[in-house]
Symmetry: C2
Subunit: 216 residues, 2 copies
DNA sequence: GTCTATAATCAGATAGAC
DNA sequence: GTCTATCTGATTATAGAC
């Protein structure tokens, strides 16, 4: 009984500390890159002694991988399914909205993922080969069916999906550049809506579809 | 006379070494990031003693900045002008082709630039605020004029340009991911044409324009 | 101009007290 | 479980011989 009470309490501290460390690590890794981040800096941000970080995560690399895995979980939880019975315009528009939303809500996750890929995806090659690949293939298949059913113009499904990814992630990964060019300190709440709309308009019309705000 | 001959010869070695170092540095920085790259690794790749690198460039950071500046020069040399008398379809298509060409020819330049921006653009903030910003404003102005003249659909010029940038750079910055997903080791010569065409088709149609390969 | 040897610093990891 | 003190190795940069 005593033991149970003790360990559950300890577990709570453990959970809280682990979470703090992961958040702090994500911040630092995005600010300075993997090598440029010191365990000391993560410890300072998490307000814990450096040795504790290495107590919870055995090494810097294991901590980094844990951060990346958290991001993959977040990714997976968000992307819904599409079916050939669905309306392409609605689904593409929804996808753009969700991804822009992610870019605004979790810019650091997007950036860390981007850096990982730019540096050759050493830690997530397997994820790309399996989960991401099968997700993409499914989507390509549905889009191909939509085209066969005459629901949209015949375009390369894979390039379309790459375009959806890149044009939405741009607002997270390159926010520094985008904000300087827009002469802003940070995004405004209304930006999300305006950008989603602009992207939807170009991409949907590009597929021979009509975005909802232009219907009727 | 002697002195001139000597210095010109020395200058030649200097030029060659400088070039070698810059190329080697670009490779290493893209592979391992700024902090993850050691001067030793650059020296090894350039086949020079480590101290020589620091003789030519006074510090690691100065070398990094030199690499970045080389990339900016490359960028500037490529992007042409557009005028309101020009045909939007032709110009957008040309721009996409040129940028995809850059992505295939200089993927490392694109990646290094991307990493720099993701990490907060500490070394190129000024470039973005001045050169890049004025370039963007000019282009936005011409596109606005095109819209006023009824040459294309009314879309947000800035988001259009961001989309052109992001969707083309994606093939350089994320080549690792793209190639794994396409189940390839490297891009084929025909990919460039196919991708340019797919992007042009979606984006031009998205602007209410007709891509050249669909005309008539 | 070129290169060897070395100084000075800082990182990740660990041992061991509490 | 938590934290202080320390070890080990690597890195940038420099001093000085050639």
């Amino acid at each position: 009984m005593n033991k149970t009470a003790k360990s559950s309490k300890t577990g709570a501290i453990r959970t809280r500390n682990t979470r703090n460390i992961l958040v702090a690590a994500e911040h630092e890794f995005v600010l300075y890159g993997y090598k440029g981040t010191s365990m000391q800096a993560i410890a300072d941000r998490a307000q814990l002694p450096k040795a504790n970080i290495l107590y919870y995560f055995k090494s810097k690399e294991k901590l980094y991988i844990a951060v990346i895995e958290g991001i993959l979980e977040l990714w997976k939880a968000v992307f819904g399914e599409i079916k050939e019975e669905d309306d392409p315009a609605e689904e593409l528009e929804r996808f753009i909205r969700v991804k822009i939303d992610m870019s605004f809500k979790h810019p650091r996750a997007s950036k860390l993922f981007a850096m990982e890929i730019i540096l050759g995806a050493p830690h997530i090659e397997n994820y790309i080969k399996t989960d991401m690949r099968s997700w993409l293939m499914e989507k390509c298949h549905v889009i191909t069916r939509w085209i066969e059913l005459g629901k949209m113009e015949p375009i390369d499904p894979m390039q379309l999906i790459f375009m959806l990814w890149s044009s939405t992630q741009h607002y997270a990964d390159f926010d520094t550049q985008v904000l300087i060019l827009m002469d802003r300190k940070s995004y405004k709440p209304t930006d999300k809506e305006q950008i989603s709309r602009a992207l939807s308009e170009i991409i949907l019309r590009g597929c021979g579809l009509v975005p909802s705000h232009l219907k009727k």
